[in-house]
């Protein structure tokens, strides 16, 4: 117990770092992912190409490489960002590709008749997307989006390698300080992640049941 008391501040700060990194990156991924999904189903071909290019680029690049680019690549073109911002951008931009694809599967699952009815009423493409397609798509993709979110929370651990003191970064630090407490260090760090991911899984489950639409 003494171990946790001694290192509480460090663990707490690391936990908050992981939490804020997750929330900011998650928000970025959700907004950008939605925009990308809208572009991928747009009737305007260049928008589709652009979004497809984005998704395939980020989805097929290891996250560590994205971090490298943000933190060491961008300064090469005189664009310096701090480590935390770099981490938010890396995780957010990377995850947006997965959000887009999850949403797109939901969009494809919306019955064609819903779109026809919306067009027949006189809604424009944008209105049809906003009023009919996306609200229904979001409801069907709550479970896969939950997966994306949990994977993303864990992916923030890569920021440890880029000077962001989040949860995983305290692992080597504490182990080096006192190798005898290895198990306790692991328990502390894992508990930090679980505090974020377990309630998320529960919330996703609740949300799924609440927003389910009768068909």
């Amino acid at each position: 117990m003494q171990f946790f008391v001694d290192n509480f501040d460090l663990l707490k700060d690391a936990f908050l770092q992981t939490l804020s990194l997750s929330l900011l990156a998650g928000l970025l991924a959700l907004v950008l992912g939605t925009l990308l999904a809208a572009m991928r189903v747009s009737p305007i071909a260049p928008l589709r190409w652009l979004a497809t290019f984005y998704v395939e680029t980020f989805r097929n690049t290891p996250l560590t490489v994205v971090f490298f680019f943000m933190i060491f690549g961008l300064p090469q073109i005189d664009f310096v960002i701090d480590f935390f911002t770099g981490a938010v951008l890396s995780v957010g931009l990377y995850t947006a590709a997965f959000v887009c694809e999850a949403l797109r599967s939901g969009i494809n699952a919306v019955a064609a008749g819903q779109v026809e009815a919306a067009r027949a009423v006189g809604l424009t493409f944008g209105q049809t997307l906003r009023e009919i397609v996306l609200p229904q798509a979001f409801r069907t993709v709550v479970p896969p989006l939950g997966n994306v979110w949990i994977a993303m929370v864990k992916n923030t651990s890569i920021a440890a390698g880029f000077s962001v003191t989040e949860l995983s970064a305290v692992l080597p630090r504490l182990v080096n300080a006192d190798a005898g407490d290895l198990t306790l260090v692991l328990v502390g760090v894992v508990a930090g992640y679980l505090i974020i991911t377990l309630p998320s899984a529960f919330a996703v489950h609740r949300l799924e049941r609440r927003v389910a639409i009768l068909r």
């Binding site: 009737p43 019955a111 008749g113 819903q114 026809e116 009815a117 919306a118 067009r119 027949a120 009423v121 006189g122 809604l123 424009t124 209105q127 009023e131 009919i132 609200p135 229904q136 409801r139 639409i213 009768l214 068909r215």
Partner: protein, 250 residues
């Protein structure tokens, strides 16, 4: 039946459409006057649903001209959306917006397309729901209603836009028999009120009761056009005679 003078409300001329190799609409010529009720019948695969759906360009055509109120159907985009808002459409499978309440289904178009206030749109929507007999269901979701109720809501949704013409694409084909009449009654009342209607249907009773003209289609062509009584008692084309003998003698 008297047919008013002047420019027809809907005119299709030289309309052709292919689905790949299949020539689904062949040299269609059809004019529909204001206040006229046209019933389109024919065997399945005759192109009657496709014809109906070309009028608001849910199906684009390959050649020919379609005009509504003297204006040519625009290409995909804002102009087409505006035109569609003047053309009500009722589908075989209802297609009510599944995540919106009945009231929201009816007010969505008036609010988003016509820019009406929520209060005005809801007042009018409740009147329309009353008129089609489902006002008690206003706060429910579509899946909680019977098929007949859903279809009447779909009619109210189309009417809320004050359309110039209403298209009905087999509106009773997905309904249980006991619900067909409740929908046909609403449609008959609409026809009596002078709505211009194009109705794809197999309901001969409705055609006799409410239609000014019956258009018989087969193999992508309009084979015969006649007043309902004449068509049913004395069809001119062999194809229509054959079709009617099959559906009337059972």
């Amino acid at each position: 039946m008297t047919r008013p003078n002047g420019e027809p409300l809907v005119r299709l001329s030289g309309v052709n459409k292919w689905f790949g190799e299949l020539h689904v609409l062949q040299d269609i010529e059809l004019s529909i006057d204001r206040g006229e009720v046209v019933v389109v019948i024919g065997p399945s695969g005759s192109g009657k649903s496709t014809l109906c759906r070309t009028i608001n360009r849910l199906e684009p055509i390959d050649s020919g001209d379609i005009t509504i109120d003297g204006k040519r159907l625009p290409e995909e985009g804002k102009d087409l959306a505006r035109l569609r808002s003047d053309v009500g459409m009722v589908f075989q499978s209802f297609n009510l917006f599944a995540h919106k309440t009945i009231l929201e289904n009816v007010t969505l178009g008036p609010i988003k397309v016509r820019g009406q206030s929520k209060a005005d749109a809801e007042k009018r929507a409740r009147e329309l729901l009353e008129r089609v007999g489902v006002s008690a269901q206003a706060d429910k979701y579509p899946a909680q209603l019977s098929g007949g109720q859903q279809q009447r809501v779909a009619i109210a949704r189309a009417l809320a836009m004050d359309p110039k013409v209403m298209l009905f694409d087999e509106p009773t084909s997905a309904l249980d028999p006991e619900m067909i009449n409740e929908v046909l009654d609403v449609m008959t009342a609409l026809a009596r009120d002078g709505m211009t209607m194009v109705v794809v249907t197999h309901e001969m009773g409705f055609a006799r009761r409410a239609a000014n003209r019956v258009v018989f289609m087969d193999g992508g062509r309009i084979v015969e056009t006649a007043e309902p009584e004449n068509f049913f008692t004395n069809p001119q084309s062999e194809r229509a005679q054959d079709f009617l003998s099959k559906i009337l003698n059972h």
